[in-house]
């Protein structure tokens, strides 16, 4: 099944609008400006990392990756996730704070 990978413009738009949370706005408060910007940027990065992970899994299913490629991809994606979570932690953001509602694609993180 490839339903996870159906990426439509609508889905992406909706995904990104998910960043704005409940208000339709990303409010940048002078007090929390760093955290708000970090949330925007890390949310987008986390979203792209997730897309790459899904794509990697799909390619494994298609038998189009060698063992070595799988090892490299897996390691990179795993470390990228760790790195994103670490940076998020420094801004007091949880992985859930970076979550994007992808509509039909699914909420990523």
């Amino acid at each position: 099944m490839t339903q996870h990978l159906e990426i439509t413009t609508e889905g992406v738009r909706e995904a990104l609008s998910g960043l704005t949370g409940k208000t339709g706005r990303l409010e940048i408060d002078p007090e929390t400006v760093e955290q708000d910007l970090a949330r925007l940027v890390l949310g987008l990065i986390a979203f792209l990392r997730q897309l790459m992970e899904l794509q990697a899994i799909r390619q494994i299913e298609n038998d189009s990756l060698t063992e070595q490629q799988q090892e490299q991809l897996g390691t990179t994606l795993m470390r990228a996730e760790e790195a994103i979570h670490n940076v998020a932690g420094q801004f007091n953001l949880t992985p859930e704070d970076l979550s994007l509602d992808l509509g039909p694609l699914g909420k990523t993180i």
């Binding site: 413009t9 609508e10 992406v12 609008s17």
Partner: protein
């Protein structure tokens, strides 16, 4: 058989503090008719930047004809 099942009316869900039901409510806030994905960057209630998010991301096999599996 699933381990746990739960049934709640809309009113119960809205009034509940149960984290799963709170998740349901949070999920609903972004549903319904949405004009377009849009992102306003605001500072102190002043709307500064509007991002019209007309982006397209595609899986490589949808871009490259040789990988077109579907």
């Amino acid at each position: 058989m699933p381990v746990e099942m739960q049934l709640a009316s809309a009113t119960e869900t809205l009034a509940s503090n149960d984290s799963r039901l709170v998740d349901v409510v949070d999920g609903l806030l972004g549903h319904g008719v949405v004009v377009r994905g849009e992102l306003w960057l605001t500072v102190a209630d002043v709307e500064l930047v509007f991002l019209g998010l007309d982006v397209l991301l595609a899986a490589p096999d949808r871009v490259r004809p040789n990988g077109a599996a579907q």
